[in-house]
């Protein structure tokens, strides 16, 4: 379970370039719920995800994983609970290391790095088994350098890596945005499998309203650092992309039109 209470994040505090990125987020995600997060550029989606992951320190407010207050815990201290997949396929893996070395790093997530060999027959067997799920033939390329794989393959591997260690929370930051439609569909498919298998609490940021409605059981929309609506259950089931757009227009008190091309194109 993730709870955010009155979460504020301000960048460049006290400087002329001060920016209020999050302005009081109150959000509780029960264990096992899959939430999709939408919003225009600069709405604070990625900031929210990065704050939950611990990359960004909150200015005010509280974050809890279950009963545990993690507000002051640095990113590395949260990795026992959190697995992440980034938007950039190059960000989630090390191009200089081999496939198996990357997997070994993820396999050690949340553990203390020891002076024992990072790879052995047992772990290689686990990696091969996991990679075989992708049907991309990467299981036979364990010793290839990660940098030689295509973006889609790297993203697939980094998705598998996120599931190598037991975790309770999965944070997906537009993890299919940089891929071609076919690969994106494959990645989304494996994502759903992993989530179902591990009963994970998931937050997925997406630019596509279609994807936001098709996946998960709840959708929240951010605008200027606030949650402007929160859809779940039957109400959400009846929603179409155009309804989301209407809702967005209504929520804006000053009557500002939604002009983000990406949101519309994503529909």
């Amino acid at each position: 379970m993730i709870s955010c209470k009155e979460l504020h994040v301000t960048f460049n505090r006290g400087l002329p370039t001060e920016k209020l990125a999050l302005r009081g987020i109150d959000l509780t995600i029960p264990q096992g719920e899959f939430v999709t997060v939408i919003g225009s550029n600069g709405a604070g989606k990625s900031t929210l995800l990065n704050t939950i992951a611990g990359d960004i320190n909150s200015t005010k407010g509280q974050i809890l994983f279950g009963e545990r207050d993690v507000t002051k815990v640095p990113a590395t201290g949260r990795t026992a609970d959190i697995a992440r997949v980034f938007q950039d396929p190059l960000a989630g893996t090390c191009g200089d290391l081999t496939v198996e070395e990357n997997m070994a790093l993820a396999y050690g997530r949340g553990k203390i790095g020891r002076l024992s060999s990072a790879l052995n027959t047992k772990t290689r067997e686990i990696f091969r088994e996991q990679l075989a799920r992708l049907n991309l033939g990467i299981e036979d390329r364990l010793e290839s350098q990660m940098g030689l794989l295509s973006g889609g393959q790297r993203q697939s591997v980094s998705l598998l890596m996120s599931a190598l260690q037991p975790s309770t929370i999965l944070l997906l930051d537009e993890h299919t945005a940089a891929l071609d439609p076919k690969t994106a569909a494959l990645i989304m498919d494996i994502t759903s499998q992993i989530i179902a298998e591990k009963q994970l609490t998931v937050m997925m940021v997406t630019h596509s309203m279609r994807q936001a409605l098709d996946h998960g059981s709840r959708t929240i929309m951010l605008h200027e650092g606030k949650i402007i609506f929160d859809l779940a259950g039957e109400q959400r089931a009846n929603y179409e992309v155009k309804d989301l757009l209407n809702l967005f227009a209504q929520a804006r008190t000053d009557g500002e039109e939604l002009d983000d091309d990406k949101l519309l194109l994503g529909a």
Binding site: A53, D55, A75, T76, T79, A80, R84, F86, L90, A91, G92, T93, C94, G95, D96, L97, T98, E101, A104, L105, A106, G108, R109, G110, K111, G113, R114, L115, S116, S117, A118, L119, E143, Q145, M161
Partner: protein
């Protein structure tokens, strides 16, 4: 080249093999260009030589030199990590400070070890070997042990985490790796190896001098580049050992250039020769790839 000067070249090459491994750790593994080594090489030598003259046990003195150099690496890492000073600049600051510190440690510009016991003393006359052979074998064993330990370390979970930090900090952090700790550890290890090389150099050559570290970084880098352009491999053992081989080859090349009478070089031309050799080692892989691409294109046509 006489046998005597050949063995001397080999000896220095092997000692600088440790420097090359240290430079490989910072430049290639951590992606942290570290010029501290110019100072920490001398620091290792200065601390060791001073302690030996004071009558301290040679092993303890060598260990102290190594640890002092490792601490110099920690200072550079601290300046960079705590205060966001650019790594290159942070290391230049430490290196500059070390000039003074080295003079203070020795109390004078140089310390002679000619009549003092050294780490080599117990091996003198062993198996009836002449000293000049014994010294080469001794430093070869030191460089090999150092190299094998580093290669083994880089294959452990901790070492793998360090490589990830140099390759992709964000990914490392997302996988629970404490990035700063790995940078501190890497710089301490790197400078420790360089300090050990300095300590061995002082003991095999019989002196420590405040200017002996100048250019250490270039020599180390040359060795890494020569080694890696000759042995392209992904095995950590091959890579680390190629640093040592690169260092020896570099020394042999310099020595041959200086000794070839028809070239007319003198000892003071060392820096030009070094620069040209390093440039050649950097140019060679590029030209080789271009040539291979041309060959392939010709085959297709």
């Amino acid at each position: 080249m006489s046998l005597f000067s050949f063995l001397g070249t080999l000896e220095i090459g092997l000692i600088y093999g440790l420097v090359a491994i240290g430079v490989y750790l910072t430049f290639r593994i951590l992606d942290f260009p570290d010029l501290t080594v110019d100072g920490s090489f001398t620091l290792g030598a200065a601390v060791t030589a001073t302690l030996i003259v004071m009558g301290v046990n040679v092993l303890l003195a060598t260990l102290a030199g190594t640890i002092a150099a490792a601490c110099a690496g920690l200072v550079t890492a601290w300046l960079n990590l705590r205060f966001d000073i650019l790594h290159l600049l942070a290391s230049i600051l430490t290196m500059t400070a070390l000039y003074t510190i080295n003079l203070r440690v020795m109390g004078k510009p140089n310390v002679a070890l000619i009549m003092e016991p050294t780490i080599l003393t117990p091996f003198e006359g062993i198996f009836g070997l002449p000293d000049m052979y014994m010294r080469v074998i001794f430093v070869a064993v030191c460089a090999l042990i150092g190299g094998l330990l580093v290669a083994w370390f880089l294959k452990t979970q901790y070492g793998l985490a360090m490589r990830a930090v140099g390759s992709n900090k964000r990914m490392a952090q997302a996988n629970g790796i404490v990035v700063k700790q790995k940078v501190y550890a890497g710089l301490a290890l790197s400078n420790g190896l360089v300090g050990l090389a300095g300590a061995l150099f002082a003991q095999t050559n019989g002196f420590a001098d405040s200017t002996m570290g100048i250019g250490t970084i270039v020599v180390g880098l040359a060795a890494v580049i020569i080694g890696q352009s000759l042995f392209a491999s992904r095995s950590m053992y091959v890579i680390v050992l190629s640093c040592i081989v690169g260092s020896v080859l570099y020394r042999l090349a310099v020595s041959m250039a200086l000794n070839a009478d028809f070239l007319g070089f003198s000892a003071s031309d060392l820096n030009l020769i070094t620069a040209v050799l390093v440039a050649l080692a950097l140019i060679f892989p590029k030209l080789r790839n271009e040539w291979k691409a041309k060959q392939a294109a010709r085959k297709e046509a």
